[in-house]
């Protein structure tokens, strides 16, 4: 029920942003001052927060870990925002950010277990955080507000997700996300395939994949042996509806379990038809992403954070937006993942799944407490959050209206797509924590190769989940 309420809020936020963009409304002063997303380095560096705590005195080194790294759209914005905070306070940040994947999640959890956690981290607010939340190693927003009443006061509390471990709120969100299907239209044109739209069905998708394969291209850019997450999520979602997508099966034989099995079998069918790259089981995500941007693969199922990576691939210097090849970027589009059964094509996965945590270790350190609060306040301020949120939602009470003219072509296409979304549902994998996913994530190659049945893999994951509840 709570999840539905949050989803409704997010939908409203996303649709408002999309409609504002499509309507070409004049943005308020705060927004018009923003550079395009890829050109926002200056503005983020100058961002100031009225809601921040006072500077802490200027000699503290905070250890910070986030997922703003690699191909993430906000990798550069993050560096700029950190530099701005360092410059303003005199404190320094020892950053260990890394691309978000299972290894990153494991590293964070291990860091907490071994007592080497960072002072501040930007991490998932779902079941992945259960272990360190249960261990009391992060501080709740309410506890921080008891000392710093203005902490995260610019956020709409309704949109801050509570931890599934204890129902308390810990992570201050920055930007929302959505997951959808990026398209290389140059490949589609070469294969004589139409750009998919809001009524795209699974059967049409299969037919298009065959046409693309026959034209000599890889239909789907995905590294199933490395990052099967998005296919896992949507393949299962395709057997369900937004109302029951967040259900966890009790066994592989119950209704939800059968849906999960059917979803994984759909992925196996795609693999056996040869719609994934030849090296999908041995490639890394970076390799298959390069295939997509190099015009060797047609479809890429991924998240909103990949917009920046695609735009970066269209720049001769990934760090210099002025080197953008607009013509190359025009060959990329984003659309809904093909619908099947009762899931509408326009039902997407998305939400506010991550946020900034302050660890107990930093909180209990008198030198670091104020610096940590100051840092999180800065990174979640009214000025910094819109720079990160770009074409996605945020939890700000006073989110600025989006000025479409400030966005690049792919961001505008993303906003157009989001304006047609009928529902935004959280990812069930965020509730099916860590080791429960091993049999179907790390086990995906064995499932698609037929070495392990989808039912056995799901049952193994469910057993691990049941064990974790004991």
């Amino acid at each position: 029920m709570k999840m539905k309420k949050i989803t409704a809020f997010l939908m409203t936020a996303v649709l408002t942003m999309g409609l504002a963009g499509c309507g070409g409304e004049t943005a308020p002063a705060a927004a018009t001052e923003q550079e395009p997303a890829t050109e926002q380095t200056e503005s983020s560096a100058e961002a100031e927060s009225s809601a921040e705590a006072e500077p802490s005195g200027g000699s503290v080194e905070l250890t910070v870990t986030t997922t703003f790294a690699g191909e993430d759209s906000n990798a550069q914005n993050y560096k700029d925002a950190v530099a701005a905070w360092e410059s303003k306070t005199g404190n320094t940040v020892s950053d260990t950010s890394a691309t978000s994947d299972e290894t990153f999640k494991t590293r964070i959890i291990t860091d907490f277990e071994t007592g080497s956690e960072p002072d501040v981290l930007f991490f998932f607010n779902g079941a992945d955080a259960n272990d360190f939340v249960n261990a009391g190693k992060v501080v709740s927003i309410d506890d921080i507000r008891a000392e710093y009443p203005d902490f995260a006061s610019n956020m709409n509390d309704e949109l801050i997700a509570a931890s599934p471990a204890d129902g308390k709120k810990y992570a201050v969100p920055v930007n929302g996300y959505w997951e959808a299907m990026f398209v290389n239209t140059e490949v589609l044109d070469a294969a004589g395939v139409e750009m998919p739209g809001a009524d795209y069905t699974w059967d049409q998708f299969l037919s298009d994949c065959q046409d693309i394969k026959d034209a000599g291209y890889a239909p789907i850019a995905a590294a199933l042996g490395n990052i099967p997450h998005y296919w896992w999520e949507f393949a299962i979602f395709n057997q369900q509806t937004p109302d029951n997508h967040l259900d966890i099966p009790g066994s592989s034989d119950d209704a939800t379990g059968k849906q999960w099995v059917a979803g994984l079998e759909d992925i196996r069918e795609l693999y056996q038809r040869g719609y994934f790259p030849d090296n999908t089981l041995s490639a890394t995500d970076d390799e298959t992403f390069a295939m997509f941007t190099d015009g060797k693969a047609a479809f890429l199922l991924d998240g909103s954070w990949k917009v920046g990576g695609i735009v970066g691939s269209c720049q001769s210097d990934p760090d210099d937006p002025s080197t953008l090849d607009a013509d190359k970027l025009s060959h990329f589009d984003v659309t809904y993942f093909s619908g099947k059964g009762n899931r509408k094509t326009t039902d997407l996965i998305g939400g506010l799944s991550m946020g900034y945590y302050i660890t107990t270790k930093a909180w209990e350190d008198p030198d670091k407490r104020e610096a940590a609060v100051s840092f999180v306040s800065h990174m979640t301020s009214d000025e910094v959050v819109p720079i990160f949120a770009q074409h996605t939602a945020s939890a700000l009470k006073n989110a600025p209206t989006v000025d479409e003219s400030q966005f690049n072509a792919l961001q505008i296409k993303a906003m157009d797509m989001m304006s047609g979304v009928t529902s935004l549902t959280g990812a069930v994998q965020d509730l099916f924590n860590g080791d429960c996913r091993v049999s179907t994530f790390d086990g995906m190659p064995d499932i698609v190769a037929g070495n392990v049945s989808a039912a056995d893999a799901v049952q193994e994951g469910v057993d691990t989940y049941q064990d974790s509840l004991e």
């Binding site: 299972e102 494991t106 959890i109 291990t110 277990e113 089981l281 390069a290 070495n451």
Partner: protein, 295 residues
């Protein structure tokens, strides 16, 4: 001053720090690890909440887990690759370099250089060389007329692709050891053999190699025990045993179970297996390649 040498208790005083260090950081964790292999542990830094049922469940799993057998097979292959590839190539190179008049120092530096590069960096380097979509090797083959791309990391090629960099990296290490061994052989032996009419090849087979026996034994022992510990380069190139868990070594599989799959107690069990395997193989190696006092 002289009493220090007479009273043996001072010896123990100097031995104590290293002894305490080993007890604390090697033997104690080792026995805790054995204890942990019988417990049900999901998080690092804990002893778990309960005993496995039965308590030796993980040891039974070793016999039924197909991946552990793949890991053992790959580890044995790695040992063979180490002996034949690393020590074998190093022996050939050292014999060749020993027979040249000038440039010995140059070759020593060149062959030893890979050792000083981080294994992770080497892994990333070889990832680019073996990259599927236009890595260096596939580009080279394309120039030679090959039209399709080869997946050097697929099921068929993965093991070879993993072993080539590992072998390449450590050839220089054994090269230096063997070169030093060759330098210790008296030149007079070679000179008298030459006077007696022995060819260069005969001098190698009848003087160099027999007199290198003890050094070779040391190299093989180091190679076998080193092969059991290889971790970073294979993990960088083939994380999580990619593809299809076919490239796991015992070390990488232990890490995977402990850190990635969060099956900490099973990881501890694999660690025990690695220790047992290490002790056994060291014993066998010492028996087979026993150093001789004749040389």
């Amino acid at each position: 001053m002289s009493s220090i040498y007479k009273k043996k208790k001072y010896v123990f005083l100097f031995l104590a720090p290293a002894f305490v260090f080993l007890i604390l950081y090697l033997y104690y964790p080792f026995f805790v690890n054995i204890y942990g292999s019988f417990r049900q542990i999901k998080s690092l830094g804990t002893y778990g909440t309960k005993w496995n049922t039965p308590f030796f469940k993980n040891y039974l799993s070793l016999f039924t887990d197909p991946v552990i057998w793949t890991s053992l097979k790959n580890t044995l292959l790695m040992i063979v690759a180490t002996i034949l590839g690393q020590v074998g190539i190093a022996l050939v190179l050292s014999l060749l370099v020993d027979n040249i008049e000038r440039g010995t120092q140059f070759f020593r530096t060149v062959y030893f250089f890979p050792i000083v590069i981080s294994a992770t960096a080497l892994g990333l380097l070889f990832n680019l060389i073996f990259l599927y979509d236009k890595g260096m090797l596939n580009q080279f083959l394309e120039v030679l007329g090959k039209t399709d791309l080869t997946d050097w990391k697929n099921e068929e090629n993965a093991i070879l692709t993993m072993m080539i960099p590992v072998v390449w990296q450590y050839v220089g290490f054994y090269f230096i050891i063997l070169e030093t061994g060759l330098n210790n052989i008296s030149q007079e032996l070679y000179e008298s053999a030459a006077i007696d009419g022995a060819s260069r090849l005969q001098r190698v087979f009848y003087i160099s190699i027999p007199l290198l026996r003890n050094v070779l034994c040391t190299c093989v022992t180091l190679g076998v025990t080193g092969a059991l510990k290889v971790f970073d380069l294979p993990w960088t190139m083939f994380p999580k045993g990619m593809p299809l868990k076919k490239t796991f070594l015992t070390g990488t599989y232990m890490y995977y179970q402990t850190m990635e799959a969060k099956n900490v107690d099973y990881g501890a069990t694999i660690a025990v297996l690695i220790v047992v395997l290490g002790v056994l193989l060291s014993k066998i190696t010492r028996t087979v390649f026993r150093e001789s006092e004749d040389y």
